[in-house]
């Protein structure tokens, strides 16, 4: 039977099921294939904090959203066009997000009384008409999977576990994607389990052929390759990108990379990722606790390595005492804080931007340091390199802020050539003539004199230093001077970073000022608003401390400044306090990223429009 093929510009799909249903894996495979097809894409995994919440329960639902397009996109999509729901709980949790009239593919085998009860459905939504506004496609996924594997000598459980690949195969057919990327992946993944490999392959193909032959589907869709800048691409998550950025910084600087870290969601991937790269002389030290993570990093930097430590909010708090030491000893160190919902254990797998003020002020004493924030998963790569560059050049700890959304989300990265990336020069002090540990250069950086260098034996530590000589000093005037010097050194970084760029015109009616992971949603929102005739400018802060040198100038150009943040207004407070500038806030603290529409609506509200319609 001939099927219609329809070309669409962009699609958002969400795979949802029990946390044991393999939804993250299914989503990741669909992403991998979609990347190969050449679409622009952005993903958002969303999973519970519990590793295996009770099967079929609402709290155990794990989801993976993917937005792909033939044009340039910035977010994982506000609401899915297609929802794949492996059980009633997945349907219940995700239904509200679905676009009106959207498609739902359900695994009917799981819609039994028990699962309906667990999902708190009073009646079966597949029968009671409550889904009449959607295009519901009912497929007995488990049965079809069993059927496809009837000749295979595997246990029922093993067979049943393959059913996510039936859904994946079907989605490949629906969106005209090749299945070979996943076939190849299966071959490496299950190299040592040929039976499981075979079973998954069979089920994947069965799903694909089902789309082709069944009459349920009359249309398949095509999303053409996006026109991205020329080059080699790879799909990359924020955590992966950060890790590779640090290795690149180590290659650029010629320094050994040392990671001291303690596992914490959603930052554990750094340990996983970096521990693979032993042939790059990377030292990963899974420390006994967060404090040892940063302390060993400081020791490593003292000894001449690029010391880094990675964590999330609660761990970041534990590191704050040692950060004071790093400020005092003026050693290069990068601390990555993958922000998550807090305080305390809070929402460990969800995203938030509520550590900005902690990054600024969460220390004892006057302890300024550099703070930068990544804006997208791929940008984490560049942010990690930049954080390392600043740390080394200015002999200072640098905080790199990312968040759960960036960490777990992914998008294509155009891989830069090595030479396109900034150089990182390292000059260890070797000359004993005129050496003093705190004798500074024109930037106010002190010399890096590492153990093993003859004639430069010296002692540093957490006690206040005598200016220049670095010996202990309790002198009142010296302390005040040193506090000022340390601050001035950080302020000097402003001369070394780009000015704040404005996307828009001076005469626009509104400036949206953003930082961190909200970048994508804000960009899309502004693009949409402009299409409707609104005059909105956008400026995004990568550098938070120091701010870009022209920030005040930029702010002064606009009467109205809107700051959307996933917190109660951290940047807003800083801007108001520093520049006495009144700002309009848009705050969301739900553990989820902004939807494009939320920002758009705020723009319309501020500019007094009628939603453009």
């Amino acid at each position: 039977m001939a099927k219609e093929s329809k070309i669409v510009e962009d699609v958002t799909v969400r795979f949802a099921g029990d946390s044991g249903d393999g939804m993250q894996l299914t989503g990741a495979q669909f992403t991998e294939t979609t990347a190969k097809v050449g679409n622009d894409l952005s993903t958002l995994p969303d999973f519970p904090a519990e590793i295996r919440a009770p099967a079929g329960s609402l709290s155990g639902v794990s989801g993976y959203q993917l937005h792909f397009s033939s044009s340039d996109i910035q977010t994982p999509g506000d609401s899915p066009d297609v929802l794949v729901a492996m059980n009633p709980a997945a349907l219940k949790v995700n239904l509200l997000d679905l676009k009106p009239g959207g498609t739902i593919i359900v695994n009917t085998d799981s819609f039994d009384d028990k699962n309906l009860r667990l999902a708190k459905f009073n009646s079966n939504p597949l029968e009671d008409g409550s889904l009449s506004n959607y295009n519901v496609i009912q497929i007995p996924l488990a049965q079809m999977t069993m059927e496809a594997l009837k000749d295979m000598n595997l246990s029922v459980k093993e067979k049943e576990k393959c059913k996510n690949f039936f859904a994946l195969g079907l989605m490949y057919w629906m969106y005209n994607r090749p299945i070979d990327v996943t076939l190849k992946w299966l071959e490496t993944k299950f190299k040592n389990k040929p039976e499981i490999m075979e079973a998954n392959k069979k089920v994947l193909m069965a799903g694909y052929h089902f789309g082709e032959t069944t009459e349920i589907f009359t249309t398949r869709y095509e999303v053409k390759a996006a026109e991205l800048p020329k080059g080699k691409y790879r799909n990359i998550s924020g955590n992966e990108a950060t890790a590779l950025g640090f290795i690149t910084a180590s290659l650029k600087s010629g320094l050994k990379l040392f990671l001291g870290s303690y596992p914490i969601t959603p930052a554990s991937e750094f340990l996983h990722e970096l521990s693979k790269y032993k042939n790059f002389d990377v030292v990963t030290f899974q420390a006994e606790d967060e404090i040892a993570g940063i302390s060993s990093g400081i020791g490593a930097s003292f000894a001449g390595a690029l010391g880094i430590t990675t964590t999330s909010g609660p761990g970041f708090s534990l590191k704050s005492e040692a950060l004071g030491l790093a400020v005092m000893t003026e050693l290069p160190l990068v601390v990555v804080d993958v922000q998550r919902g807090g305080p305390s254990t809070g929402l460990p797998t969800k995203t938030e931007q509520a550590d900005l003020l902690q990054a600024f002020f969460g220390r004892h004493g006057e302890a300024p340091l550099a703070i930068i924030a990544a804006k997208s998963p791929a940008d984490c790569f560049f942010a990690a390199i930049e954080a390392s560059r600043i740390a080394i050049k200015y002999m200072t700890p640098v905080i790199l802020l990312t968040d759960g959304y960036l960490a777990m989300g992914s998008e294509p990265l155009r891989i830069p050539e090595f030479d396109e990336l900034p150089d990182i020069d390292v000059k260890f002090r070797t000359d004993p003539e005129g050496f003093y540990p705190y004798l500074r250069d024109e930037k106010l950086s002190r010399p890096w004199a590492i153990p093993g260098t003859p004639g430069l034996e010296h002692r540093i530590g957490g006690l206040e230093k005598q200016n220049i000589y670095g010996t202990i000093s309790y002198e009142p005037d010296n302390h005040e001077e040193m506090v000022k010097i340390r601050k001035q050194k950080i302020d000097n970084i402003a001369n070394d970073i780009p000015e704040l760029e404005v996307d828009g015109n001076d005469s626009d009616d509104l400036l949206v000022l953003s930082w961190g992971s909200t970048y994508g949603a804000i960009r899309e929102a502004i693009r949409n608003a402009r299409k409707k005739g609104y005059r909105v400018a956008h400026a995004h802060l990568t550098y938070l401390n120091p701010f870009p040198r022209n920030i005040k100038e930029v702010l002064d150009k606009y009467n109205k400044v809107l700051i959307p943040e996933l917190n109660t207004g951290h940047l807003a407070l800083l801007i108001k306090g520093r520049f006495l500038k009144d700002v309009i806030q848009l705050n969301k603290i739900k553990g989820r990223p902004f939807k494009v529409a939320e920002i758009e609506n705020k723009i319309y509200e501020v500019l007094g429009g009628t939603n453009g319609n």
């Binding site: 190969k36 040892a292 400081i298 040692a322 957490g462």
Partner: protein, 343 residues
């Protein structure tokens, strides 16, 4: 090769290891002796001055690095072992020492201490145990004996002390020794042995705090009593002590008992013979408990020294293995090798 290297090394004296900073411990503090013994033995550590790093935490003991003319890092409270770990891991050539105290390593830094031992980090930890908080002016410490009256325990402490040797051995240290500030020769011996040990070397130094806990070790240091109270451990030698070497220790099953070598019933042949290199920790454990048993002498010397791969050794071996399989890393391998596509 070895000898040639040694010849190239300058012949240091104690003076070479003294920094130009005024030493600021209280007069009579046991820390002075530790500093003197370290400076005296440092020329025998077999390392170039520039390759020696002293790391410390916070406390009276932790001022130590300032007084050594080597590389030094005065850290924050309790974290010396963690800082030292970072130093040693990235540059295995360095000889890394930690100066710490009972509060620093057994209280606030307990976690780092036990894990450094467990991992057999190739660092040397010298713990100045004065059984008190000196720098904060006299609160009880985790090694203070139960019932001790201090500023923060006017009616006596209600908690039980840590036994540092037992803790270090249980945690996995591979060189475990004790010495006393008033035993300079003995301390020098311990320091030298620690310096050549591969793996985590732990030396507990009984150190008198003249200000807040004076006399804590008097029975072990007073001329009249010390010989009856101190047991010098020597490898291969029977456990014998006392002014006239007339007392011995024998093992009754797993129970150590003091025997009178002159009572006609016992002789030196009945005594427990010390084996420093015993891979089994049972006897070391019994030995470490002597201080908790009434009427037993306090052992000083090397409790145990065993051979175990160090963390750094194993780590860098793994790096070599991976390198020989995958080749040294470069940017192209890092970024272009997998799952890429061309636009």
């Amino acid at each position: 090769m070895e000898t040639k290297n040694l010849e190239l090394k300058p012949k240091y004296t104690a003076k070479d290891f003294a920094s130009d900073v005024d030493v600021k411990w209280c007069p009579g503090c046991g820390d002075y002796s530790i500093l003197a013994q370290v400076q005296r033995t440092a020329p025998d550590f077999g390392e170039l001055k520039e390759n020696i790093v002293w790391v410390s935490g916070i406390g009276c003991s932790s001022r130590f690095p300032y007084y050594m003319n080597t590389y030094g890092f005065h850290g924050i409270h309790g974290r010396a072992a963690a800082i030292a770990t970072g130093v040693k891991l990235v540059n295995p050539k360095l000889q890394v020492w930690v100066a710490t105290g009972d509060g620093d390593s057994l209280s606030i830094g307990g976690n780092h201490f036990i894990h450094a031992c467990r991992k057999n980090m190739d660092i040397k930890i010298v713990l100045f145990n004065n059984k008190i908080y000196g720098l904060t002016k006299g609160q009880y410490s985790p090694t203070s004996e139960k019932g001790k009256i201090t500023k923060s325990s006017p009616y006596g402490t209600v908690d039980f002390p840590f036994n540092a040797i037992k803790l270090a051995d249980a945690a996995g240290a591979t060189f475990i020794a004790r010495t006393i500030d008033r035993e300079p020769k003995h301390m020098q011996d311990m320091l030298k042995r620690a310096s050549s040990h591969k793996g985590l070397a732990f030396i507990e130094v009984y150190q008198n705090c003249t200000i807040f806990n004076d006399g804590a070790y008097a029975p072990l240091t007073d001329k009249n009593t010390k010989e009856d109270n101190v047991l010098y451990l020597e490898h291969g030698k029977p456990l014998v002590f006392g002014k006239n070497k007339d007392k011995g220790i024998k093992l009754d099953g797993l129970k150590p008992v003091v025997i009178d070598l002159n009572d006609g019933k016992h002789s030196v042949n009945d005594c427990w013979v010390h084996d420093e290199f015993d891979n089994d920790s049972t006897r070391g454990f019994i030995l470490s408990r002597f201080i908790d048993i009434e009427n037993m002498p306090t052992p000083i010397g090397v409790f145990r020294q065993i051979n175990k791969p160090t963390y750094g050794e194993e780590y860098w071996k793994q790096v070599q293995d991976v390198k020989s399989k995958k080749g040294a890393g470069d940017y192209n391998k890092l970024m272009f090798s997998m799952n890429t596509w061309e636009v």
